[in-house]
């Protein structure tokens, strides 16, 4: 029977020859991930189940990335619960401040993820890893606690929607704009419970970091997972980093899709998602004059080294607008180090930016750049819900790093061509 890549990975992990959308299956998990906000509840569930030891101390990965370096006493307590659990369970891959960055950046970067795997994480953006041809989905803490205990979980096989991207990209258009434009077309529940499979000539040419940005935001359309079939770009990325053997699956040409959408990219300009929804997108030329107080470049969506390089191209020799705050947070210590070596950080500092330590930062309104009532920010992150980055009266506009950098110079939302 013909299957999609998602179905093939799920079938393999369920020990079945074939699976179909709607099947309720029990799968073996290759990696389970949690962070300082979700791990404490997962650990509580794990303890209640009454198992003494995690299913595999090399397959549970714990990353301190959300409210670290600890932002207050309560966050410190939560981080401590995770730290002590990691010690007690001999978790091999526990990443402490200093070696940790954003989980969704360091897991691929350190070679934990290869094609064909099944990964679950107690974080909605776990779908990021699908860019490497793996099945990867976000769950809650109780699910993760049960996975830590058993190494297994139940899943319903999702139907797949295939998005074929064709045509030529306009200048400054990146993976961020493709995914924002797609979410704008199908809506925030346009792929509810489904797999989003990104394909077509445009995706085949897309560098790895932009693919991560696309699968990262699949959850913003309600999807269970986002996925891209592995190719040479994928394989050379993992070969440089991983000792695990990739298992390459591709969708059969006669696989059954819930829907196939062709997206012609020729007219897609850099996108800006207006608050309070990632689906509320406009072309940059339709934004109008919106003055801003803050720009944030970073997060699991756009905290990659290439994202910083792109922002640097815009900021080189320029200064940010007077009174504006530009906050840059590299996604990992390695990215931070390389950005220093390449002179990127110096460019940012010269432009007037402040650099934060690798972590999730203000993306979810935790710390390091909370917005006050009435303030507006351009952010390279993934969500612009009411109050997402601070006061419920503040506003977040989502964009790619080039637009974010240009906006920081302009003091209003604008693209590099406006400079």
């Amino acid at each position: 029977m013909s299957m999609t890549i998602t179905e093939k990975i799920l079938a393999r992990h369920a020990g079945e020859k074939t699976v179909s959308p709607g099947d309720l299956i029990e799968v073996m998990v290759d990696l389970a991930y949690a962070h300082d906000l979700t791990a404490p509840l997962a650990i509580e569930s794990f303890r209640k189940i009454g198992v003494k030891k995690v299913f595999d101390d090399e397959k549970v990965i714990l990353v301190a990335d959300h409210f670290v370096p600890n932002k207050d006493i309560q966050s410190a307590q939560q981080a401590k619960i995770m730290r002590e659990f990691a010690r007690e369970q001999d978790i091999k891959y526990y990443f402490e401040v200093g070696e940790s960055g954003i989980g969704h950046v360091i897991l691929p970067e350190k070679g934990f993820i290869v094609p064909g795997q099944l990964i679950v994480g107690a974080d909605s953006h776990t779908c990021t890893y699908g860019a490497l041809g793996a099945f990867s989905t976000g769950v809650g803490s109780t699910d993760l606690g049960a996975v830590m205990a058993t190494g297994e979980m139940w899943l319903r096989v999702p139907p797949t929607i295939r998005f074929e991207f064709r045509g030529n990209l306009l200048p400054w258009v990146q993976g961020k704009d493709l995914i924002l434009s797609t979410i704008g077309q199908i809506g925030v529940e346009g792929a509810l419970y489904s797999a989003m499979e990104f394909a077509g000539p445009v995706i085949n040419e897309l560098p790895m970091y932009q693919r991560f940005t696309m699968t990262n935001m699949a959850v913003e359309a309600g999807a269970k997972n986002g996925i891209i079939e592995p190719d040479d770009i994928t394989l050379s990325y993992v070969k440089e980093r991983s000792s695990y053997e990739p298992v390459v699956y591709r969708s059969d040409s006669d696989a059954q899709y819930e829907r196939v959408m062709t997206i012609t990219v020729d007219t897609i300009e850099p996108q800006v998602a207006f608050p309070p929804s990632p689906a509320n997108v406009r072309n940059i030329s339709d934004v109008g004059n919106i003055e801003i107080d803050q720009v944030f470049i970073g997060s699991c969506t756009n905290g990659w080294l290439e994202d910083l390089r792109n922002a640097e191209r815009i900021l080189k020799g320029k200064c940010i607008a007077r009174g504006l705050r530009l906050i840059v947070i590299p996604g990992s210590p390695l990215i931070y180090r390389k950005a220093i070596e390449e002179g990127i950080i110096e460019t940012f500092l010269n432009a007037g930016a402040v650099i934060g330590p690798p972590c999730c930062g203000p993306c979810l309104g935790g710390h390091m750049g909370i917005l006050a009532d009435g303030e507006k920010a351009v952010s390279t992150t993934n969500r612009n819900f009411v109050g997402r980055m601070g006061h419920p009266g503040s506003e977040v506009y989502l964009a790619n790093p080039c637009v974010a950098a240009a906006s920081a110079v302009l003091g209003r939302i604008g693209g590099p061509d406006d400079l």
Binding site: T38, S45, I49, Q78, A122, V139, G140, D143, L364
Partner: protein, 166 residues
């Protein structure tokens, strides 16, 4: 199992940041979280909600972050069941995993208003207003999900399963 309570009506795409803003998830204690449930979105909720009350919402309830603090806050606050046109998938799993039942219903979402007293039968999906004026039949909860709720959530379900397997 029947849930009886008053309706709290919400719109479409209620995200988990609205249910529990991130600044409050530096704790994992249900009682603490319940105190700030809908803190920005509907500040009177945490104070005025009673045991067994019912949240009625539109499409895609619980979208966004995977934080289980959201269903935990709702459940601890006393919410007995949530009915919506549709639910975001992580929230759907999380709610059943902690034993908070969800029911999909277009009709209930369209037909009920804030403050109405209703009775919801989880087994049949039958919804009645206590004044007898309204009656809907929603899709009953899938068997597997009902098992989870009956067991009191995934943790207890696994415990029972483990005992059976032994």
């Amino acid at each position: 199992m029947q849930i009886r309570g008053k309706v709290w009506k919400f719109g479409d795409n209620i995200d988990t940041d609205a249910i529990i803003p991130a600044r409050y998830i530096n704790v994992s204690d249900g009682d603490e979280l319940a105190k700030v449930c809908f803190a920005d979105h509907r500040p009177e909720f945490a104070n005025d909600v009673s045991n067994g009350d019912i949240v009625i919402a539109g499409r895609n309830f619980g979208c966004g972050s995977s934080r289980e603090h959201a269903p935990l806050a709702l459940k601890t606050a006393g919410v007995g069941v949530i009915m919506a046109k549709s639910f975001a998938r992580i929230f759907y799993r999380n709610a059943f995993n902690i034993g908070l039942p969800l029911i999909e219903s277009e009709e209930a979402s369209e037909g009920l208003s804030d403050g109405e007293e209703i009775v919801v039968d989880l087994a049949t999906g039958q919804v009645e207003s206590t004044n007898g004026q309204k009656s809907f039949s929603a899709k009953p909860i899938p068997d597997f999900m009902r098992e989870l709720v009956q067991a009191g959530g995934l943790v207890n379900y696994l415990k029972v399963k483990k005992i059976k397997e032994k």
